[in-house]
Amino acid sequence: MERTLILRGLLAGALGGLLAFVFARVFAEPLVQSAIDYEAGRDEAQAALDKAAGLPVETEGPEVFSRAVQGNLGIGVGMVLFGVAMGALFAVVYTVLLGRTGRIRARALATLIAGAGFLTLYLVPFLKYPANPPAVGHPGTIGARTGLYLLMVAASVLFLVAALLVGRRLAPRLGTWNATLVAGAAFVVLSAILMAVLPSLGELSGAAGSETPLPLRDPAGRIVYPGFPADTLAEFRLYSVLAQVILWTTIALVFGPLAERVLRRDAPVRAVAEA
């Protein structure tokens, strides 16, 4: 039966990725394009400044994939594969927790696990290291940023598991409601401490103090090219969150009923006997 459940998790994840892709294609891609246009304009201004100062001008390498491929096929494949990966992890956790979590119905369990996946694998890391549209970010800090982001992801998962274990031990003494509150508080406090300790993105790039491109100034200090548009950044981050909400909601809503059918089919003898 675990194979059936995993297969359905993959299906739910792929569908979630597909819906998130449709959303991304309509709402996020125009922002990606405007971010790339900004970058192109900024590079041009930088080149002009360098030339005026007598510095060597950097030339860009050839494009590996055209924008049309990246903005349609590439983002589609990326979102669906990510959805499949999340659906697979979701199905494994579901299979292991099945029947081990007390009186929770099949669908409710699916909703809870999808919520936990969204929270730990995306939202908590996002709070510390939010998504950036293309054109934003320092090439020199990519190693550090990737490491820190993955550390946040792994730590969030560990913190939630720890909080759940604590909650489970306290439940008989405090009751389910209060034990859940304590476990939730433990998760928030642990995450907050880690976030306070880790460096933020702006601190990594040193002198600039920001990962987001600042206005470009000429030697006299006049702004010759504006900083990255704040609206584009804010909207892109909002759409990043919404894409993940769509993905995880789809996984919960599609997988729940499918799992219920598998469970009912596999336990007919007992169900009939008790009916």
């Binding site: 590439g74 983002i75 940023r145 336990a267």
Partner: protein, 69 residues
């Protein structure tokens, strides 16, 4: 509308020891996918310093919240 009553809500407890091979393989495959979509050819690379994977899923990587560039 038939629904499963709460008392036998999740009636099956799978012996995880028996399913461990499938569950393990699934987790491994999922982590590989996560790695290729989100991390490969950014900070580190499995197949040398080529940028095809990175460039292809580039927009998805940004929107999914992975650090890039």
């Amino acid at each position: 509308m038939t629904s499963i009553p709460a008392e036998r809500s999740t009636p099956v407890v799978l012996p995880v020891s028996k399913a461990v091979l499938w569950l393990g393989l699934t987790v491994l495959a999922a982590l590989l996918l996560y790695y290729f979509v989100g991390v490969d050819q950014g900070a580190v690379s499995v197949f040398g310093s080529d940028t095809h994977v990175h460039e292809f899923v580039h927009d998805a990587r940004h929107l999914l919240g992975f650090p890039c560039h």
